[in-house]
């Protein structure tokens, strides 16, 4: 097939690419990769990082999840754009997409891996602070509409939303309720996002993620 995506079901980064392809109604072949046994095709297509997701379009590889999302937006121009049209709004969307990967997700990982109560508390606070920032960003970016991108799911929705499965998993792990009444707009957005057609079949199940992450953390600790 002309469009192929190499991904892994637990990966929020792969989820981004899948949502974007779904939003644009692109027909694609999906190849599940096992990070412990990477395919020749993956290693050949992403020699620099050897990671998923990788999008192959007419055999040409595109790597890095948000670069893939931008590419999808720029190639399949039927239907709504994933980014706003105003350059400043685009810069804001890109900024928060950068922040979620650069600062917020590492804090979530810290929270999961923290060995002491103090470390856990610190990491949890960072996660919650980040969620508050997203709440404010949602208010500004959505301009009263349903999604960060306005009426339609877009670049920033995908950038942040891909982590919702992991957020729910973190709730299961910790007994917390990370998206709560302190971030009402974000909580409501999260439900809309996960229920949407483009997202619901590719967002990993939190219980399944919990099992997977437990196994992974145990394997890492054993090394």
């Amino acid at each position: 097939m002309a469009v192929k995506l190499m991904g892994a079901w637990p990966s929020p980064f792969a989820v981004r690419a899948r949502i974007a392809l779904n939003l644009k109604s692109v027909d694609y072949e999906y190849q599940e990769e096992d990070f412990r046994n990477k395919s020749e095709l993956l290693l050949k297509s992403n020699p620099v990082y050897k990671k998923i997701p990788v999008l192959l379009h007419d055999d040409k590889p595109i790597c890095e999840s948000m670069i893939i999302v931008s590419y999808i937006d720029e190639v399949w121009t039927d239907g709504p754009s994933l980014l706003p049209s105003d350059p400043y709004d685009r810069a804001i969307a890109r900024f928060w997409a950068y922040y979620v990967d650069d600062k917020w997700f590492p804090a979530l990982v810290e929270m999961a891996k923290a060995k002491t109560d103090e470390a856990k508390k610190e990491a949890t606070e960072k996660v919650l602070e980040g969620l508050k920032l997203f709440e404010e960003a949602f208010e500004k970016c959505s301009k009263g509409k349903q999604f960060f991108n306005g009426e339609n799911i877009g670049y920033l929705d995908v950038a942040i939303g891909c982590y919702l499965g992991l957020i729910k998993m973190a709730d299961l792990m910790t007994g917390l309720n990370l998206l709560n009444d302190k971030t009402p707009l974000l909580a409501a957005w999260a439900e809309r996002f996960c229920a949407s057609k483009a997202v619901k079949d590719v967002m990993p199940d939190p219980e399944r993620l919990l099992e997977f992450v437990k196994v992974m953390l145990a394997a890492q600790a054993a090394q």
Binding site: V48, I62, I67, Y71, P87, Y88, R90, R94, F95
Partner: protein
């Protein structure tokens, strides 16, 4: 507060990207040198999340993160000067990928080259050269990373050229020996006014590195 203002620090490769991009587009701007040891209220309010330079303030609205700023400049002044990103989506994805690679690998690894000692230093050097060789292979025989035209990917990397002398001196190795094509590319980039106007003297950069080493108590 109309106009274009750049909050920056003279030696920052990230800030340099923005200065070069603005110059390529022929955009007039006010340059404000920040004292990173004592950040201005303006910087902290313009970039509350990271409190870092560069920040571009356009008609009072701040844009942060150097590569995001460069894309913003390309889009906000799309009717001025050359396009910084290629038109073709696949070429754009390639430009973004390699600029992101520079972001992930260049600064952090280069810093380790001058900051660390002994085995850590040797490891950093090896990694640095491997990264440079990969970039050189990507450049190939093209005049610029994007092909015939100077653009986004070149802008993301060229600021580091003024740091090469520091990395080489502190690391005791030659980038020219390892990657001659990169040095040729640097010469080609320096022929552009936007680059030659802003790139600081490599010896001044090294003086700054020596100052930092003293400050951090590194031999």
């Amino acid at each position: 507060m109309e106009g274009v203002k750049l909050l920056d620090f003279w030696v920052s490769p990230f800030g340099l990207r923005v200065r070069i991009a603005l110059a390529e587009k022929g955009v007039e701007f006010e340059y404000k040198e920040e004292n990173l040891a004592e950040k201005s209220e303006l910087l902290v309010s313009a970039n509350p999340v990271y409190k870092k330079i560069p920040v571009l303030i356009h008609d009072g609205k701040p844009v942060c993160e150097s590569l995001i700023i460069v894309q913003y400049i390309d889009e906000a002044w799309s009717d001025k000067g050359p396009a910084l990103l290629p038109k073709d989506p696949y070429q754009r994805a390639q430009a973004r990928f390699w600029a992101d690679f520079v972001d992930k690998k260049m600064y952090e690894c280069g810093t380790r080259v001058w900051k660390s000692k002994g085995e850590a230093k040797e490891e950093a050097k090896k990694e640095f050269i491997d990264n440079m060789k990969l970039l050189e292979a990507t450049l190939g025989d093209k005049p610029f990373f994007g092909g015939d035209v100077f653009g986004y990917m070149d802008i993301s990397l060229i600021p580091f050229a003024c740091w090469f002398y520091s990395y080489e001196t502190e690391g005791s190795f030659s980038i020219e020996e390892a990657c001659p094509k990169i040095l040729e590319w640097v010469k080609r980039c320096k022929e552009r006014e936007s680059v030659s106007k802003f790139l600081p003297d490599p010896h001044k950069v090294h003086e700054f590195v020596l100052f930092l080493k003293k400050r951090f108590g590194i031999e």
